[in-house]
Symmetry: C2
Subunit: 205 residues, 2 copies
DNA sequence: GGTAGCAGTTAACACCGTTAAGTCGTAAGT
DNA sequence: ACTTACGACTTAACGGTGTTAACTGCTACC
């Protein structure tokens, strides 16, 4: 009937409903209704609701990763790259809060275990940070004895900051943007050497 | 019938089921069944399921706060206090993962808005960090131009780390404990001055 | 022309949160 | 002592959920 395959139509309907109504109000019946098929048709292409949501998560992760990759290409110094990654991460979370939050739905409590093979893609962002860190270490601008772990710490810290912001746990007297900016500075300065900390503001890119 | 009031029996049954089966499988009917009353009885004491869960969250926050308060009393240096707070926070999350995760259920997507007045209690932990930071600043061991914001970034970073650990997003080749330890060091060193960073390992408490 | 298989359907199951109406015992009022 | 009122609790029901099994109709092939 429709040009797109049913599977694609399901995915985009699901994404649309997720973004408009939130994960909490996402139901298979609503998704099906919105594209004029029966709810059970979804099971022809996904083995469960969680399976469908997993692909939405995958999508979101890919979009975030793409944004991160792009943000880094025209930056020369590793420190600038690190800053770009952090800034892009934060912007993504602010611009697409529901999409961002769905990425972190992979918690063991809210969803059946995220399949291991899909984690590969999720780790691409981690790889980006790792590359920047090792590059920075080799040219002495970044100090880190175990970059494998540091790359994860970097993500974790950023996620923590955005999670506090998005769940509106912030004291109303604290300005959100100021908080984010200060947090990013804090996180980044934790990775770079004292020397480049002072130099960075002079040189571009 | 029972000695305890029904409200208390509901709360403790709910907590028990939450810890054993997870938030995802928590239902009013199961809670009611487990204490031998009808599901609608819950509405005599709570105005909705979310309301009940909110009190569970409140409980969990209080337990975490209590642990944090205790951890800090016999420490003398602000830096040691900060370390104790971080360590206690992490231990709590590891020892009671479900209880910890329920605290962060207050996200706008999973739950109706957490009532503002209950946020007061939640901010007690924030107050603890703030005190330690201002104390450290006044004696020159901690460097921070805006402690109000810094107290939040401290929480946020810790939460990010534990959220990555608990959602099992960590690369299997990375040792969990090593990651946590390194992350804590990273976060803490972001707040203390270069001098005390070198001195801390010599003096106790 | 029959038939196998695929894409989609309907019907049903067992659950869910929530509301309205009913029951039953106890305490107070007269 | 009889009625009334009220509180604590239950039953019945509504509209929703994810998921399974059985059915329909169509298309392609032998």
């Amino acid at each position: 009937m429709n040009k797109q395959s049913l599977k694609l139509r399901i995915i985009s309907a699901a994404r649309e409903l997720l973004l408009s109504d939130g994960y909490r109000n996402l139901s298979l019946r609503k998704i099906a209704r919105s594209i004029g098929v029966s709810a059970t048709s979804i099971y022809l292409h996904f083995e469960s609701k969680d399976d469908l949501v997993h692909t939405l998560i995958e999508e979101a992760i890919e979009r975030l990763n793409r944004a991160l990759e792009i943000s880094v290409v025209n930056k020369k110094s590793p420190v600038k790259k690190l800053e770009a990654l952090a800034q892009t991460y934060v912007s993504f979370a602010l611009k697409h809060p529901r999409e961002y939050q769905v990425i972190y739905l992979v918690s063991s409590e809210e969803m059946t275990r995220y399949p291991k093979k899909k984690f590969r893609k999720a780790r691409k962002g981690y790889g980006l940070v790792l590359d920047v860190l090792t590059e920075g270490i080799s040219c002495g601008k970044i100090e880190e004895e175990n970059p494998n772990i540091a790359a994860y710490t970097f993500w974790a810290q950023l996620h923590g900051v955005m999670s506090v912001v998005l769940s509106e746990r912030l004291d109303t007297r604290i300005d959100q943007n100021e908080f984010i900016e200060e947090a990013i500075n804090h996180i980044i300065s934790g990775y770079i050497t004292y020397d480049s900390l002072k130099l960075e503001n002079i040189v571009d890119n």
